[in-house]
Assembly symmetry: C2
Homo-oligomer: 694 residues x 2
Amino acid sequence: MVAVDTLLKPRSVAIVGASADAAKLTGRPLVYLEKYGFTGAIYPVNPRVEAIGKHHCYADIAALPKAPDVAIVLLGAERAIEAVRALAARGTAAAIVLASGFSESGPEGKARQDELKRAAGSMRLLGPNTIGLVNVTDGIVLSASNALVADALVPGKVALVSQSGGILGSVLSRAQAAGLGFSKLIATGNESDLDVADFIDHLAGDGATRVIALYLEGLRKPDAFKAAVARARAAGKAVVAFKVGRSEQGARSAVLHTGALAGSDAAYGALFRQCGVIRAERYSDLIDIPLALAAGRALEGRRIAIVTSTGGAASLLADAAGMAGFETPPPDAATTARLKALAIDGAALDSNPIDVTLAGVKTETFRTVLGAVAASPVYDAVAVVLGSSALREPETAGAPLRDCAARSGKPVIAFASPDAPALVRALNLAGVPTFAAPESVAVALSAMRRAGEAREIAPWPAPIAVPKGVNALLKPGPLNEAESKRLFAQFGMPSVREIVVATPDEAAAAAKTFGGNVVVKILSRAVLHKSEIGGVAVNVAPGDVARTCAAMAARFAQATRAQPEGFLVQELVEDGVELILGFHRDDQLGPAILLGMGGVAAELYRDTVLRLAPLTRRDADEMIGELQSAPLLTGFRGRPHADTAALAGTILAFAQMIGAIGDRLAEAEINPLFVRPRGQGVVAGDGVVVVKGG
Amino acid sequence: MVAVDTLLKPRSVAIVGASADAAKLTGRPLVYLEKYGFTGAIYPVNPRVEAIGKHHCYADIAALPKAPDVAIVLLGAERAIEAVRALAARGTAAAIVLASGFSESGPEGKARQDELKRAAGSMRLLGPNTIGLVNVTDGIVLSASNALVADALVPGKVALVSQSGGILGSVLSRAQAAGLGFSKLIATGNESDLDVADFIDHLAGDGATRVIALYLEGLRKPDAFKAAVARARAAGKAVVAFKVGRSEQGARSAVLHTGALAGSDAAYGALFRQCGVIRAERYSDLIDIPLALAAGRALEGRRIAIVTSTGGAASLLADAAGMAGFETPPPDAATTARLKALAIDGAALDSNPIDVTLAGVKTETFRTVLGAVAASPVYDAVAVVLGSSALREPETAGAPLRDCAARSGKPVIAFASPDAPALVRALNLAGVPTFAAPESVAVALSAMRRAGEAREIAPWPAPIAVPKGVNALLKPGPLNEAESKRLFAQFGMPSVREIVVATPDEAAAAAKTFGGNVVVKILSRAVLHKSEIGGVAVNVAPGDVARTCAAMAARFAQATRAQPEGFLVQELVEDGVELILGFHRDDQLGPAILLGMGGVAAELYRDTVLRLAPLTRRDADEMIGELQSAPLLTGFRGRPHADTAALAGTILAFAQMIGAIGDRLAEAEINPLFVRPRGQGVVAGDGVVVVKGG
């Protein structure tokens, strides 16, 4: 998108509503453009001012000497619309609208935003309700943010795209303090036109950007987001996202329904997982993870050397790393020998943490220690603890640390035990990721490990065509159980062997053909949860089937004041693990597939996994592996290994069904889905399908 | 303990091994004593120096003009022992030994520490391997810590007791930066004599201390810890603990054995819970929780008003609070009316977060807003978001915030959205708990809520006497199932109805007396896990019992090359929820009781709860309530409410059994424990007991 390129790197900028008072918000953009070294043309527009500084001030947009590449519109909502109309008429490539009072403020604002969009025509818009953007790489500031008042901006390899302008300022301020530099900073505001996906797409091709950090409130175009992230990932960039709004969903009380179990935050989690986006769980992670990844090193394994001069803080770090699944093995014999040759008095050099004591914190000694440890084949990364001695003499450990990071290809990171903001900042600026919290080190290591693992992202699969027989089955309203299973069969999903009968006597006759006890059910589309009205009987002897059916029909009649459509006599599956396979249409992110343990586990233990449709085979395999109860499928305590390959196939088939049928499908669930021992496949024990329009 | 009083507030201090070089570690204690205003006598001891500053320096301890109250011993390990001997001989009340090279350094060091302890006799010791202590309240520093070099110490209401000297310095440095003040700082080192419990006990009576913060590596005397914490809690003090060493346990792979499932970190968790100690989960919590509690306000409910001038950061805070279970209801109509009367342009005053916008951040307006919100009956606390405007004009929001905190009885806290260390520090020093992370606010609120809830701590129950018939049952080695159940019965724990028989035919005859299907088992003390060798058959028809027993005996003979002791014929329980009740002897903390869901849930979902013995009734009730599967016991999806009262009684009885039998008991477990519907009690389905010495 050429317009986004122009927006981020304009040759000329109009400032509509510019003030000559630098202390005012409307005075800032011009000050910032000059302060940060913009070399293009600046056109202030304000009918009440002749000039601002050395710049001639234009009475209106029509008076501009030529169409600006970009305009920053500082007017209130109503006047901003007129300015946007005039800018579009002049042929401006893009406008940034700061005013609030649009869709964030209710229905009237929503209408105003629609008008703004119409006024822009083919001109691109950033905002409204945005604080603007900063192209740090090229020294171009198109923003009125407070956060830019203070110091010089630290340039770096991280681009930040934020849906909140206030948070953009907050992250910038925190990052500057921590020594994290940025390439681009963009607040997308109400996203009337350009949204977060447009900027990810642009940043995918931005040579100055290695890490794309996102602050998200909600995605308006999930498919564009997926595509943009895929492009960024393919270009070798890491994408990190913090998503606000987890707790409204978390607080929702659980009911055993696919949708409620999944919840919207889980859908975002699935989206991030499937796109290869690293999720920032805590606010500070949105700085710590980019800090870790900006160094551009992937962690190739989970074995961490901890080098320290102070025991307590090293325990703290080892503990945090261990909690995150990292190992801290002792050094190999050759490395220990190299370390012991240094003859450091009182040092513990054959265990990990490797404690060199204060005696070891001498520049040359420490340089040798770090070099030896980084070179050891036992370690995938080196984490150094900085104690209070580093406050007094930051270079004694700092110089060896920088050298080690420069020479070793492995990640080299540091943890400052005392309060040491200046030290943390200096090391980060020097390219050694350094953190103030032991848990941040663990988060950083985990992110670097993710970056080491997840290099390939499978393409999102294309939808399959709807099989021939499907349309005839899709009568509006609920299908009965037998019809639901016929639909599943159309997509290659097998069900238990079953016979549909009309009367108790027919049921008894059918039961005899199974050669053993059977399952007997009411057949009715009127009741989705048959077992709640006593409409399911398991393990019934053939001789008891007629009686069971009659009693069931009586209970059914009492509960529904109607007759059942018939009865189902089914094979009794005793060697299967019972799962639930369902789907849920997320408000924002579309159809999602849910796999859960059957029985009470899905609800009591929240033993469910969610992924957005469409699914890849890897998604299906990961879903199975992520169930807490996955061991039940893989030989737990002498059980037979279940047919997980067939299960993955059925999960994929179910997702293909969801994709192929599309919006006509209101509900679909297989519960239970029996997963039999390896080689024996899976079968649907029961199924619910509801077609829209009934 | 008078010696501890003297140690913390001596009138005279000897510094053994004092150096005249203030830059050396051995030069620091004298410098610190003077710098922080110690008014008592100072006796440096060093044979090679005449005087240090204005102080005469003594050649040896014998030469001191009188016995000092306290001595700081700065000598190396071997010479420290001699100094301690000499100090004890002079009648010194307590000595602080800084040297390392004692029990932390292996068996030789352990022997050295024993010698040190003997040399001290009745003189009390702090250390060895300690950095000393600081009595901030009275300006007495008995330490060589680096962390004391810099600024003046901020006095406050928090006492810190740390088992690591390095961490004491780290926490002190971080706390000073955050504006958290201390009353006392004590590093206990190797705890050869005085330990963390001794200082908690002292601090319980210290008028200057409101919160006791602990950094723990492991407790040497858990019972003394419990007693000291109980005293502190009874005196109205909050106790907060960070315990390092969670991950070694967390990483241990799970096996379905009581001990492995529980793990030592879980035992510490239980200890803290039972003592009313608030656990700091992250390192930063060890500062954030004391910050929150030092203000001395308990949170009486979970409804939080968030007042902000910036939307993004307020969402962040609402989200973090929501994740921690807090509610953010909108203001009541009267409060909204009061706020709207202020006519703040663009403000959102009828929802929560209450967004006053930048227009609302004017001193008088903001004062009125905070006053109105704090007075609203809808809220239990007020949390204020400080945006970037607070960096430019800290007093505009700061002054109203301090006033509100001073006037309202409710907790009033703040979150700084941009990087604002000076602002955070200033507000904390002014008594408004202020945090730099949204998650810290949630942690602070949770801690204040805990302080609001947990005012009463039940006393630890006394052990019961061993019932008469017990000793006869305690033959060394494993008991068989029937014997185990007889032991349970002695403590009032009922089992399923069962008959012990010798032969398959006797079993068949016994089965007929049950009036239905039965459970049949091998009876043998040789096999603890009968089901693994096919020694358990459930739901056996009486007619099949003889055949089942014969087959079982054959399998048993094949597996063990021995004959079973007999057979058990048992009542079939079909209406019970199956739990596991076991015990585990923690290396450090002693016997612990474990309650878990039966079947695979205890292992797959880690659905277990641990408490240390002895138990109170409240402990038993909490254990039941904390099971993830607790809803299964309380009417889940139409099931009958289980007899939770009987279950609590059996948990207590089991704990009493553990306490009464004591060390003779190696293993004890009831698995399954059937919990029947309300009014029908619980019964042990099976039991394992192993007595020591077999």
